[in-house]
Every structure is written in structure tokens, then in C-alpha cells.
């Protein structure tokens, strides 16, 4: 073997080592980003967290006390959003994956759904204000906020549901149809039940997306401060992300609330991460249990 070819080989191996190290470093870096966030939030925010913090109203112009109304408000908003968007998403996913024949109108709808996913959240906020709050006259309320959030998470849910339906084997459909069931009956009794775990995972991811958004609820639902919990869907609410935003920017004494801000953000982060983790665990378990 010539010296030249040996050099060549050595060089190529070195290039490969460098390339893979760079790629590895890139993935470590993205993991580090999460690590930094977690470290920062826990070290700054954990001091504020206590049972009282979670179960009391804010006091003294929100420089003391807890975040109960924000927790409850976020819960209502997300619950409303998922209640509106899940049936819609499942219905359109069923149509898209089970009924729709290929054609320009189906392609148009798909493009529409993926464009919806790309719309900035502040735009949802403004549209929510213009349409739900003003045109429909719902007013700034839990309902308007939930409707706005449901538009935001709709594409996430549709895509998850479509994927779940697509992973149900064709042989299930054939089996049902060969027994003389209609397409709809086959979907209802065989295909949808088999897709439920996947759809629910998508729902959890949608919830965790909705709970963390500020912009869509800023003009449609959120209140600066509430002395009581919302009594009806037409009440304004406090919400966790908006509460952080308000304390950090609009409170007259924002420097006094630094611990509360980090505490609230930590609660929010904990909620979102727990839900995401739960979805991952659920999906893994459903996949393992799946027998087809």
C-alpha cells in the first residue's frame, strides 16, 4: 500500500471523528438548554413555592401571597380549549384520513391546517379580540380565551389524531367492511377505539401548549387581578403565564415580586413538563401494550 493512500485513509478517519464530535456536541447543547432553564428556574423559584403559595390569593398589590386564581384560571382556560378543539380535531382527522379522496380541495384544507400551525400566537390574540370578544360580543372572558386557545392548538391535535388513525392497520378496516359494516360504522367501532391512545397523547400535548401561551389570552381572557375565582364562562380570569408577565412588567413595584415571578414561572414550567413527560410515558406504554 502506498503512503499516499494510507495518508488519505487517516485523513478521512480524522474528518469523520471531527464530524461526529460536532454532531454530538450539537445534541448535547440542545439538552443543555433544557438543563440551564431547569437549573435557573429551580434555583431562583423554588424558594417561593409552598402550600400557601398554591392555595392563596395574591396580597398587597400582588407583592405577597399566592397564585391560586391564576392556577384555577389556567385550568379553566385549558379545559375549555380542549373541550372545543378535541371533538373538532378528531372529526376533521377522521374525515381527512378515512373519507376524503385525494383532490385539490383536500390539499387546500391540509395546507390551511399546517398554515394555521404557523400563525404567530399574538395574531390569534388579536383575532380572538376582534372576532370572539367584539364581533360575537362574548366580551373578555374565559369563553373567549378558551375559543382563541382552541384555534391555536387545533392543528396540533388534528395532526396527532391523523397520525393515530393512520397507524391503525388497514386490515382492521378490511375486516369490518368485509362483514358488511359501513365505512362509518367501521370507523366508529374499530378504527377510532384503536386510535384513542394516540389521540389522547396529542390532546395532552395540546393542553401543555395551551397552558403556557400568553399572547392569545392577553386581550381575550386575562385579568390583571381578580379578588374572586371566575363564577361563569363570561368572567375574566387570571392565568399563570399572564400573571408572570404582569408582575414583571406592569406591577408598580416589580422589583419586589422577583421571587413570586420565578415561583409562578416554575409552577407553570412544572405543569408543562409533567404533562409532556406524562404524554411520552403514556405513548410508550400504549405502544408496548399494542398487539398489532
Amino acid at each position: 500500500m502506498t503512503d499516499q493512500s494510507r495518508d488519505n485513509r487517516r485523513r478521512r478517519r480524522a474528518i469523520q471523528t471531527i464530524a461526529f464530535s460536532l454532531l454530538g456536541m450539537a445534541s448535547v447543547a440542545s439538552f443543555l438548554a433544557l438543563g440551564v432553564i431547569l437549573y435557573f428556574m429551580i434555583s431562583q423559584g423554588s424558594g417561593a413555592i409552598s402550600w400557601q403559595f398554591l392555595t392563596e390569593f395574591p396580597r398587597k398589590a400582588m407583592t405577597e401571597g399566592g397564585i391560586l386564581p391564576a392556577v384555577v384560571g389556567s385550568f379553566y382556560l385549558t379545559l375549555g380549549a380542549i373541550a372545543v378543539s378535541l371533538p373538532l380535531a378528531v372529526a376533521s382527522a377522521v374525515w381527512l384520513s378515512e373519507y376524503a379522496r385525494r383532490g385539490w380541495h383536500v390539499r387546500l384544507i391540509r395546507i390551511g391546517i399546517s398554515s394555521l400551525a404557523g400563525v404567530p400566537s399574538i395574531v390569534f390574540g388579536l383575532v380572538g379580540l376582534a372576532f370572539f370578544v367584539k364581533v360575537l360580543g362574548i366580551g373578555v372572558s374565559v369563553l373567549a380565551g378558551a375559543l382563541t386557545l382552541s384555534m391555536l392548538i387545533l392543528p396540533v391535535l388534528i395532526r396527532a389524531a391523523e397520525e393515530a388513525l393512520g397507524s391503525v392497520p388497514t386490515s382492521f378496516r378490511e375486516g369490518a367492511l368485509a362483514l358488511g359494516s359501513t365505512r362509518w360504522h367501521a370507523v366508529r367501532t374499530v378504527v377510532l377505539p384503536a386510535a384513542v391512545p394516540g389521540i389522547m397523547t396529542g390532546a395532552v400535548l395540546g393542553i401543555s401548549r395551551a397552558v403556557g401561551e400568553t399572547a392569545p389570552i392577553m386581550f381575550t381572557a386575562a385579568a390583571f387581578y381578580m379578588s374572586h375565582l371566575p363564577q361563569s364562562p363570561f368572567d375574566k380570569v387570571m392565568a399563570l403565564p399572564y400573571h408572570v408577565f404582569v408582575m414583571a412588567t406592569e406591577s408598580p413595584s416589580y422589583w419586589k415580586t422577583k421571587d413570586l415571578q420565578f415561583g409562578t414561572a416554575l409552577v407553570l414550567l412544572g405543569l408543562v413538563l409533567t404533562m409532556n413527560l406524562g404524554a411520552v410515558v403514556w405513548r410508550t406504554r400504549a405502544r408496548r401494550r399494542k398487539q398489532w
Partner: protein, 273 residues
């Protein structure tokens, strides 16, 4: 090459009876049928009359259109976009291609190549068809399920665990469950698309026994690429060739012992396919 003497006695005697009845009105009949997937022709001018009694085997090399033929009989081909039939297909003299598809599939059941039980309990799998067609009241449903499982020779193995998932069964048991599921709506015809190809020899034997027993009460049309299997279970055999052309059709014994068509002789002797 296939020895007719290996046939069980009962089968041989049924066969003599069946041959006398070959002129009976066919249960399914195709006349000059062409079938297309888009521009590709899968069946070429097929005229075939499936006798109402006994088991008819459809054989041929892969890609000869035998599965297509089967899926035409219960119109499962309609699931595939771009598929198209030319010609006339009748079921009991009625135009099958224009019949109500739900009713048609109740009378013409199907068992697939791979067992495809639903992710439900054993009971719910068998009860699925009767429920779809509103055929049995709740009280009678249990009886229907038991009968169907008995006819598929599965009852004794599952009677104590009807609530268990269908996926807890072995592959052969799953396929017999699918047979029971198809039988539960009391079809006149049972289409079987290579029902043993995913099973081990022992499980295949049991399915073949079941097919012979079922043939006493309904018409079975079975697609197979296994010559021995066709010889063992069928009363009639149709041989298809590449291009979707039917080369020969007749009583299985005659066809195996004295094929008329040179290409069928080649096929039976394993020269191609």
C-alpha cells in the same frame, strides 16, 4: 404429481356426488370479466361459474389475479382507488356489481391472508357481524357466538376466556376466530384468501379440516398457491396464469390427473409459478 389416493375417504365420496351436480345453478358467475387497476389489467376475459356446493380452489402464480378475483366477489376492490370492472358478475343470478354492498357482504363473507382480529375480546370479535346487522338480540347473541366458534372448531379452546383479548390467541387460533367471525352472520359463501399462508403446518391442517366441514353447509372459494392444499380441500379448481387469464376450470381430481391445457400441465409440474 398429486396423488388422489391421499384424499380422505369422506371427501372422495362427497366428490362423486358433487360431480353429478356440476350442472346445478352456479352461486357466483362471471361472464367475460376484465378487471383494471388504473391502466393495468389484472383479469383478462374471465368467465367462471362457481358451483354452489363444495370448495372451489383458485390457483396460479403470484400476480395472476386470483386475489383480485376473490375481492371482486365481495367488492372489496372498491377500497382501492382506480379499480374498475368490465363485464357481468352475478350472485344467485342477481347483478353483484350493482347490489347493495352491505347486504352482499353479509351473504359473502371473507377470511384474509393474515389473521386480522379486531383489538377486542374474543366474544366481541365474533359478535361484531351480528351486531352490525342487528341480527341477534342480546340473549341470542351468546348462542350465535358459541355456534360460530364451534363451527370454526375453536369453541373448546376459548369457551373459558371469551372476555380475553383476541390477541391472546395463537396465530392459528386467531385465523379460526376470523373464520368464526365471518360465519356469525350466516353467509352463503365464504371467500378465503390464502388463509393458511401465515400459519405453521399443524395450524394449516386444522384450518383445512374446518374448511371441509364448512363445505357441507356453504360454498367455500379459496385462493391458494399451495397445490397440495388445493388437492386436499377442494372439489373444483380454477388455474389462473400470469396476465389474469383463466386457463382451466374443472373438478379438482380431473384437473390434477389430466389437465387439458399445456400451460396448466407446466404449472402443476412446477415448471413455473
Amino acid at each position: 404429481m398429486v396423488d388422489g389416493g391421499t384424499m380422505p375417504h369422506a371427501v372422495a365420496s362427497t366428490r362423486a356426488w358433487v360431480r353429478r351436480n356440476l350442472e346445478l345453478r352456479p352461486i357466483i358467475e362471471t361472464k367475460h370479466v376484465n378487471f383494471y387497476y388504473g391502466a393495468e389489467r389484472a383479469l383478462h376475459d374471465v368467465s367462471l361459474a362457481i358451483p354452489a356446493d363444495g370448495v372451489t380452489a383458485i390457483m396460479g402464480p403470484s400476480g395472476c389475479g386470483k386475489s383480485t378475483l376473490l375481492r371482486m366477489f365481495n367488492r372489496m376492490y372498491e377500497l382501492y382507488t382506480g379499480s374498475r370492472v368490465e363485464g357481468r358478475v352475478t350472485f344467485l343470478g342477481q347483478d353483484l356489481l350493482r347490489a347493495d354492498v352491505v347486504a352482499l357482504r353479509r351473504h359473502i363473507g371473507m377470511v384474509f391472508q393474515r389473521p386480522n382480529p379486531f383489538p377486542k375480546s374474543i366474544f366481541d370479535n365474533v359478535a361484531y357481524g351480528p351486531r352490525v346487522h342487528g341480527m341477534a338480540k342480546k340473549s341470542a347473541l351468546g348462542e350465535t357466538v358459541e355456534q360460530s366458534l364451534c363451527r370454526a372448531a375453536l369453541w373448546d379452546e376459548v369457551k373459558n376466556r371469551l372476555k380475553k383479548s383476541a390477541f391472546s390467541l395463537s396465530g392459528g387460533q386467531q385465523q379460526r376466530l376470523c373464520i368464526a367471525r365471518a360465519l356469525a352472520v350466516r353467509p352463503r359463501v365464504l371467500l378465503m384468501d390464502e388463509p393458511c399462508s401465515a400459519l405453521d403446518p399443524k395450524a394449516s391442517d386444522r384450518i383445512e379440516e374446518t374448511i371441509r366441514e364448512l363445505a357441507e353447509e356453504l360454498t367455500v372459494v379459496i385462493v391458494t398457491h399451495n397445490l397440495q392444499q388445493a388437492a386436499r380441500v377442494s372439489d373444483y379448481t380454477a388455474v389462473f396464469l400470469a396476465g389474469g387469464e383463466m386457463a382451466e376450470f374443472g373438478p379438482t381430481e380431473d384437473l390434477f390427473n389430466a389437465p387439458q391445457d399445456q400451460r396448466v400441465r407446466d404449472y402443476l409440474e412446477g415448471r413455473f409459478g
